[in-house]
Amino acid sequence: MELDEVMEAVADRLGQIDRIAGRVFAYPPLKVEAPAGIVSYPDAIEFDATYGRGVDMMRGLEVTIVEGKISDRDARDRMAPYVAGSGTGSVKAVLEAASVAPMPWDDLHVLSVAFDVVTIAGTDYLAATFKIDLAGPGTVS
């Protein structure tokens, strides 16, 4: 399970959400304009969950959705589908969906979402940051 492949694949999946299609970064960008999705680094990669390099764990991979101004009521309404537990705009549902194509991971679990305010070009934007755990092969295929 390679970090770059995981972050790229997560970003690709995130791009399936219509509102942020084409506005997803597979790394923390220098500049961003809302709405956007950002895949950032995990808290940790834990090696050797099993004998023989069978399974590694990637803990706390972060995906952040940046939406409208924090003081904008519409921003709340636009954020709601991202943080819903299901639906075509749900980050959890889109990322955890079964895939026909092989993924760099065996299992992806969206654990939680927390809300924050990010300041971009002097404007406060509503942001939601998802924490994700992944399990995958320890050996690179």
Partner: protein, 134 residues
């Protein structure tokens, strides 16, 4: 002489290598103890009897249909198969234990917020071949 990390352990059951699905394993070697204490002794005296033992392993479930823990172990519950365990990993001259075992229990556990896990309990049947790896 040096310490050995557990991640190198090799665990095979019925000639199938389950190492990459395994997080812990244990091999217990024991013996019957016969009390042969007679009059005039100040303490119990024992004599060794038949050897015995048990083994167990557990790990992370995998959906592999031919080599995953369910595919390998589930059909073999109640049968006697070969256990091979290499406590220091694979390598010429390193120790290994090979023994027939009766698979007495196979367990799958599904916590809501974690990976599915598996576990197996094994009763040793016969003596252990502890010849080091060729």
């Amino acid at each position: 002489m040096s310490v050995v990390h557990g991640r190198h352990t090799v665990f095979k059951l019925a000639a199938k290598d389950l190492s990459t699905y395994t997080t812990t394993s244990q091999l217990e070697k024991s013996a019957d103890a016969h009390d042969i204490t007679t009059y005039g002794q100040d303490a119990h005296v024992f004599s060794g009897g038949l050897l015995n033992g048990a083994a167990s392993a557990s790990g992370i479930y995998d959906s592999a249909t031919s080599i995953g823990p369910r595919a390998v172990i589930d059909p073999l519950v109640g049968t006697v198969v070969t256990l091979l365990r290499q406590v220091e990993g694979a390598g010429s001259g390193k120790p290994q234990d090979v023994v027939q075992v009766l698979i007495t229990k196979y367990t799958e556990t599904n916590p809501v917020a974690d990976m599915v896990t598996w576990a197996v309990d094994l009763q040793l049947s016969g003596t252990i071949d502890a010849t080091p790896q060729p």
